[in-house]
């Protein structure tokens, strides 16, 4: 798994650059002004620093984990369960047409 950007480990020295924030904003499709980038970079650095301080508590004998409980293999049988009707599914859509969700023109490219 990728490292958290700017998280430099338990010594607490964290730097989040303006460029990193701009890149993340771009990935998240959030349009940030120069002033906002300047404002957010140090704030994010503080947040990451706070989280990184937890690393200082865990010793080398504590493995990184994504799940707090030692549970594996929770499965569902391959049996159909009734879901939503199209009308229910589309009820919360801002717009729909031809029984489909209508979304704005796609600006980026296909993934």
């Amino acid at each position: 798994m990728p490292e958290i950007p700017g998280a430099n480990g338990p010594d607490g020295q964290v730097a989040i650059t303006r460029e990193e924030v701009a890149h993340l904003a771009d990935l998240a499709r959030i349009d940030l002004s120069d002033a906002e980038l300047d404002h957010l970079a140090p704030q994010l650095a503080v947040i990451v620093e706070s989280v990184a301080s937890i690393s200082g508590v865990a010793g080398d004998d504590v493995p990184a984990t994504s799940h707090p409980l030692p549970v594996t293999n929770v499965f569902r049988e391959d049996v159909v369960v009734p879901g939503l009707t199209a009308a229910q599914a589309l009820a919360a859509a801002p717009a729909s047409e031809q029984q489909r969700f209508s979304v704005p023109r796609i600006l980026g490219d296909e993934q």
Binding site: M1, P2, H23, L27, A28, R29, S66, H67, L69, V71, T72, N73, V74, F75, R76, E77, D78, V79, V80, V81, G83, L84, T85, A86, A89, L90, A92, E97, Q98, Q99, R100, F101, S102, V103, P104, R105, I106, G108, D109, E110, Q111
Partner: protein, 505 residues
């Protein structure tokens, strides 16, 4: 992007200068009854947004749950590809924004695939009827979910220039297994064929496993084709392009060939290859630029917190190994040995999609040679004329065996058998019923035959004289005349005997 293309380099010239390296990513849509993480049905062609629920619509608070059958299918695919099966692996969120993914991430696997480090031996026929084998190394097979389907509405009908998009989420969440090869090097001029043969054999394997509908035309198997060129003999890997969604076997071959020729043209002109995705155009046989990979590749993967790890016990894995069907390659080798077919005959049989049909016909009592004769010559031609696959022609292996039994029993000959097949395809009943209704049975009435022979001799005195002089080969013309008069419904061997008897040769 414009569809304008670089002038292509002739294929032979590409090979004189470069070594190609292939990579294939094949997505297999599983045929489970329900989706990967929810109980929604997966039927193809349902009305839009009728197979959805809060989970696959990404509604707040909905929780995913893993489909056991999908995991089993993933493990079976992995085992069939000679992979290791992970003792412990997780799902991960692949974050990106696109309306066909309502959660704004795709639940996939990142650096912990369920299956890894496998191989498949791919055979490619050579011009002299032999086969060459390439071992394709499998890097990984991982579990993920399919996306919804977008319909782009606007003046152009294409994604660029669309005014808005309409999305159907029926397909969102259907289980996918993505199978990724390591770079395939050393195929040289055979690279396009190896790519096609790999996808074809993988499809056969998936069919044999019964884990997917395996319909490329319906998108249940989709191939992305990676290609790069390196200076000949350099042993390095060049910059690759990834051509997305190549959806027929023929197109896989064409796309590889096209990209080889296009790369060579750019490299030869002193340019460099941009690492990007490309779109395949079935109609024109070219690829056009999609998007640059470098930046968009940043998916910020992280472990899926809503799903616990999958840790298949070794007992479960071995139990699933016990359910694997005979490997298609081994099956072919076994059947070829049993039937005594030459490599060429076997290749034609497989190529015509007739392997199982021939097998069942032989099981119904027909000789291997006769089964091959009917399926490959007579019926394959008719299927081709009708534009359908052989199994859809409407003639069953049991019927073919019954027709052959009628031939061997002397009630019809090969020529009449063809008319029986006409009747079978037209739905006129069993082979016996068709013979009856169409009056196709051979006339075994010696009196009628003898009369017809006398007529033929009388009508062809020159030929008859030759035969009397001992030129037995000339009998063919008289046999033809008799058969014509009998409308084909005579035993040609008996006709010949009668002619020779009467003319004293």
């Amino acid at each position: 992007m414009s569809a304008a293309t670089t002038t292509l380099v002739p294929f032979e010239d590409v090979l004189a200068t470069y070594d190609p390296a292939l990579g294939l990513e094949v997505h297999v849509e599983l045929n489970s009854a329900t989706k990967m993480f929810c109980g929604c049905p997966t039927e193809f062609g349902a009305d839009p947004n009728t197979q959805v629920c809060p989970t696959c619509l990404g509604l707040p608070g909905a929780m995913p749950a893993v489909n056991r059958k999908a995991v089993e299918s993933a493990i079976r695919i992995g085992l069939a590809l000679n992979c290791e099966i992970a003792e412990w692996c997780r799902f991960a969120r692949k974050n990106y924004f696109y309306p066909d993914m309502p959660k704004n991430f795709q639940t996939s696997q990142y650096d912990e695939p369920i299956a890894f480090e496998g191989w498949m031996d791919v055979t490619v026929p050579t011009e002299d009827g032999e086969v060459e084998t390439y071992r394709v190394e499998i890097e990984r097979a991982h579990m993920e979910e399919d996306t919804g389907k977008s319909l782009h509405v606007g003046t152009s009908g294409r994604i660029h220039g669309a005014d808005y998009s309409l999305v159907d989420y029926n397909r969102a969440g259907i289980p996918l297994i993505e199978i990724v090869t390591k770079p395939i090097v050393g195929a040289g001029a055979r690279a396009p064929e190896v790519a096609k043969a790999y996808v074809a054999q993988l499809r056969d394997l998936i069919v044999a496993l019964g884990v997917s509908d395996a319909r490329m035309d319906q998108g249940s198997i989709r191939a992305d084709v990676n290609l790069s060129l390196a200076p000949k003999g350099s042993g390095v890997l060049g910059t690759r392009t990834e051509t997305k969604n190549v959806n027929s076997l023929r197109s896989v071959e064409r796309a590889v060939r096209h990209e080889m020729q296009r790369h060579a043209a750019i490299l030869g002109g002193g340019g460099s290859i941009l690492q990007e995705t490309r779109h395949w155009h079935e109609d024109t046989g070219v690829t056009t630029s999609g998007r640059e990979k470098s930046d968009a590749e940043d998916y910020r993967y992280f472990p899926e917190p809503d799903l616990v790890p999958v840790a298949p016990s070794r007992e479960w894995v071995e139990e699933l190994r016990g359910t694997l069907p005979e490997n298609p390659t081994q099956r072919r080798a076994r059947l070829q040995a049993e039937w005594g077919y030459s490599d060429l005959e076997m290749r034609d049989t497989v190529g015509a999609g007739a392997l199982t049909l021939v097998e069942e016909t032989i099981a119904a009592g027909t000789s291997p040679a006769a089964a091959r004769k009917w399926w490959l010559s007579e019926l394959a031609r008719r299927a081709n004329d009708a534009g359908v696959e052989l199994p859809a022609l409407g003639v069953t292996p049991t019927q073919v065996a019954a027709v052959q039994a009628l031939v061997e029993g002397g009630s019809i000959n090969d020529k009449l058998a063809r008319q029986v097949f006409d009747g079978l395809i037209a739905g006129e009943g069993t082979p016996e019923e068709v013979v009856e209704k169409r009056g196709l049975a051979i006339v075994s009435d010696e009196g009628a035959l003898s009369e017809a022979v006398d007529d033929a001799i009388a009508a062809n005195p020159d030929v008859a004289a030759k035969i009397r002089d001992g030129k037995v080969a000339a009998a063919g013309a008289l046999i033809g005349a008799v058969m014509k008069q009998m409308r084909g419904q005579a035993d040609a061997g008996r006709v010949r005997e009668l002619i020779l008897e009467k003319l004293g040769s």
